[in-house]
C-alpha cells in the first residue's frame, strides 16, 4: 500500500478522476437547481453518476491496493461478464459448458496470480480442448457447435482477454499503466460521444450502432491517442517504450481496440436482438456494456508492452506453485 501512490501518474489520474466527479456533481446539481433539462434526463444523469460513484472505487481501489486485489477484481469482473454473456446468448442453459468456461477463467487468473506465464498461455488451448470434449459424454450432439463456439468466444474474451489486464499486475509499476488504461477507455467513450455531438456527420456503422459517427470515432482516436502518448511518456520514461512512434502507436492501439470492443458488443447485441446485456448498473445497462472496450484493449496493450520492454521482467515467477 505504501507504493500505491508512488508514481506521479497514479496520483494525477486519481486526482483528475476525483476532480471530474466533483465537477459532474456540480453541473448536474446546478441543472437540478436551475431546472435545466427534463426531469427524466436529469434522473438519468443522476443514475449514471450514482453508478460511477460505486464503480470507480471498485475499479481503482483494487488497483491501488495491490496485485492480488487487482487480479481478484479482474476475476470477479470476468465471472460477472460471463454470467451476462451466457444469459444473453442462451449459453447459460448449458450448465457443463458454462462451468468449464468459469473454471477456465479461474485457472487463467490463478496463473496470473502465480506469475506463471507458461501456464497462463497453455490454458488457452487446453481450456478449449476441455470445452470440446466436456459435453461429448452427454451424448447430445444437437447444439454442439453452437455451445462450444459461444463458450470459446466467452473464454477468449473474458478469460484470456481480461486475464491480460490482471497479468499486468505482475509488473511492479503496473498501477499507473492499468489506471491509464481504465481512464483512457472511459475517455475514449466520452470523446466519441462528445465529438460526434459537436461535429455530427456521417454515421460510422449504422446497422451495428446507429448513434456512432465517423467524426466521433476520429475525434476519440485523436483525443485518446494524445492522452495515452502523454501519460505513456511519463510512465515509460527512460525505457525502450519512450519513443514517440511507439507511444503514438500505443495510443492508437488503445483507442482503436477500445472502439472495436464497443462495436463488437454492439454486433453481439444486434445479432441477438437485445438492447443491453443486463441491467446491473442503473443508467449503463449491464456490466459488459460498461467494460466492453477493455476486453480487446487488455491483450493488445499487454503484448505490445511485453514485446518492447517486458512485463514483470525480473520478478519472482511461480510464487504460489514454486518450481
Amino acid at each position: 500500500m505504501n507504493d500505491a501512490f508512488a508514481h506521479p501518474v497514479t496520483v494525477g489520474i486519481v486526482a483528475a478522476t476525483g476532480a471530474v466527479l466533483l465537477l459532474a456533481a456540480l453541473v448536474i446539481g446546478g441543472m437540478t437547481l436551475l431546472g435545466r433539462g427534463t426531469p427524466a434526463f436529469r434522473r438519468e444523469l443522476w443514475l449514471r453518476y450514482g453508478s460511477w460513484l460505486v464503480l470507480l472505487p471498485l475499479m481503482f481501489g483494487p488497483v491501488l491496493l495491490g496485485k492480488a486485489w487487482t487480479i481478484g477484481a479482474v476475476t470477479i469482473l470476468a465471472l460477472l461478464c460471463l454470467s451476462e454473456f451466457a444469459r444473453a446468448t442462451g449459453l447459460f442453459r448449458e450448465y457443463v459448458t458454462t462451468a468449464v468456461v468459469a473454471l477456465g477463467i479461474l485457472a487463467v487468473n490463478f496463473a496470473a496470480l502465480d506469475n506463471w506465464y507458461r501456464f497462463f498461455v497453455a490454458l488457452w488451448p487446453l481450456t478449449t480442448v476441455i470445452l470440446l470434449v466436456a459435453t461429448i459424454p452427454l451424448d447430445r450432439p444437437a447444439g454442439y457447435i453452437q455451445r462450444n463456439a459461444l463458450a470459446i468466444f466467452a473464454f477468449m474474451l473474458l478469460g484470456v482477454g481480461l486475464g491480460h489486464l490482471g497479468y499486468m499486475a505482475n509488473d511492479p509499476g503496473y498501477r499507473p499503466l492499468v489506471l491509464m488504461l481504465l481512464a483512457a477507455i472511459a475517455l475514449n467513450d466520452v470523446a466519441a460521444f462528445t465529438w460526434g455531438k459537436l461535429i455530427g456527420g456521417r454515421k460510422l456503422l449504422p446497422n451495428t450502432s446507429p448513434n456512432k459517427t465517423v467524426s466521433g470515432a476520429v475525434g476519440a482516436l485523436c483525443t485518446t491517442t494524445a492522452l495515452v502518448a502523454f501519460l505513456g511518456h511519463l510512465i515509460f520514461a527512460g525505457t525502450a517504450m519512450d519513443h514517440w512512434a511507439l507511444l503514438l502507436f500505443l495510443g492508437v492501439l488503445v483507442s482503436v481496440a477500445g472502439q472495436c470492443g464497443d462495436l463488437m458488443l454492439s454486433s453481439i447485441k444486434r445479432d441477438i436482438g437485445i438492447k443491453d446485456m443486463g441491467a446491473a448498473l442503473p443508467g449503463h445497462g449491464g456490466i459488459m456494456d460498461r467494460f466492453n472496450s477493455l476486453l480487446l484493449v487488455a491483450p493488445a496493450v499487454f503484448h505490445l508492452i511485453n514485446y518492447v520492454v517486458g512485463i514483470g521482467e525480473g520478478q519472482p515467477t511461480r510464487v504460489l506453485t514454486g518450481g
Binding site: 444473453a88 442462451g90 441477438i272
Partner: protein, 236 residues
C-alpha cells in the same frame, strides 16, 4: 444444424427485478445453490420427518407437468420439491404466495435462489400472468408445484380448490399429478414459527389429463373439482 441464440427471458431485468419475475430462468450459479438446498432439505426430511414417498411410479417420465397437493404447512412445498429427481427437480418452480415469500428483497432472494419459487399474488394475479405461466410451462418444459387451495389450511382440513389451476392446463397437453401429504399440519401448522419433528407420508396419484376440457371459466371450475376429488381420494 439448428443455430439459435435464445437469450434468457429475464436478460434485461435488474438483479432485483429478476427475483420477483415470472420470466426468471435459472443459470449455473442458481442451479448449484438450488441443488445444495434440495440436498439439505432431503436430509432434513429424512432425519426429522422420515418422509415416506408412495407412488413414485406415477410421476411422468418427461416434463412438463404440474404437481398439486393439499396445503397445510411450509413442509408441503419442501417435500414435493425434494422428492423430485434429475431434470424434473432442476426444472421445478414452486408457485408461492407473493406476500409471504416475496415481501422484501432478502426473502425474495431466498425464495428465488434457494427454493426456486415464482410469486403468485393473491387476488392480483391477472389472466395475463396465468397465460404467461402456462406458455412457459410448455415452452421450457417445466414442473410447477402448486397448491390449489391458495393458502395453508388453518385447521388441517383440506379446503376448496380454486379454479386458477384450470387456467394452466385446460384444453392443453400438460398432465396434473395429484399428491397428498399427511402429517405436515401436525409438524408445522401455520400458527407455529418453527417445525417440530414428526412423520410425513407423501402419496402420489395417477396423472390427470384435461385436453378435452374447454379453456373457459366453466372448464376451470370442472378441473378444480376433479383435481380436488383426486387429491381427496389419495387421503389414506
Amino acid at each position: 444444424m439448428d443455430w439459435q441464440l435464445r437469450p434468457a427471458r429475464d436478460t434485461e431485468l435488474s438483479p432485483v427485478a429478476r427475483l420477483r419475475s415470472h420470466s426468471r430462468e435459472v443459470g449455473l450459479a442458481g442451479a448449484v445453490v438450488q441443488g445444495l438446498w434440495r440436498r439439505g432439505v432431503r436430509s432434513y426430511l429424512r432425519l426429522f420427518h422420515q418422509l415416506d414417498v408412495v407412488g413414485r411410479e406415477n410421476l411422468p417420465a418427461d416434463t412438463p407437468y404440474i404437481l398439486i397437493a393439499n396445503h397445510s404447512s411450509h413442509l408441503d412445498a419442501m417435500s414435493l420439491g425434494a422428492m423430485l429427481r434429475g431434470p424434473a427437480a432442476r426444472r421445478a418452480f414452486a408457485l408461492a404466495a407473493g406476500d409471504v415469500f416475496f415481501g422484501s428483497v432478502r426473502s425474495s432472494a431466498f425464495a428465488a435462489w434457494a427454493v426456486n419459487a415464482l410469486p403468485v399474488w393473491r387476488k392480483r394475479t391477472s389472466s395475463k400472468d396465468l397465460n404467461g405461466l402456462r406458455e412457459r410451462l410448455e415452452q421450457d418444459q417445466l414442473v410447477y408445484i402448486l397448491f390449489p387451495e391458495g393458502t395453508r389450511s388453518r385447521n388441517g382440513e383440506m379446503g376448496r380448490f380454486l379454479p386458477g389451476i384450470g387456467a394452466l392446463v385446460a384444453a392443453g397437453p400438460v398432465p396434473v399429478v395429484p399428491c397428498y401429504l399427511e402429517g405436515a399440519y401436525a409438524c408445522w401448522p401455520a400458527s407455529r414459527r418453527y417445525p417440530r419433528p414428526g412423520k410425513l407420508r407423501l402419496t402420489i396419484g395417477a396423472p390427470l389429463e384435461f385436453s378435452a376440457i374447454a379453456n373457459d371459466k366453466a372448464g376451470w371450475m370442472e378441473i378444480a373439482r376433479q383435481c380436488e376429488q383426486a387429491v381427496r381420494g389419495l387421503k389414506g
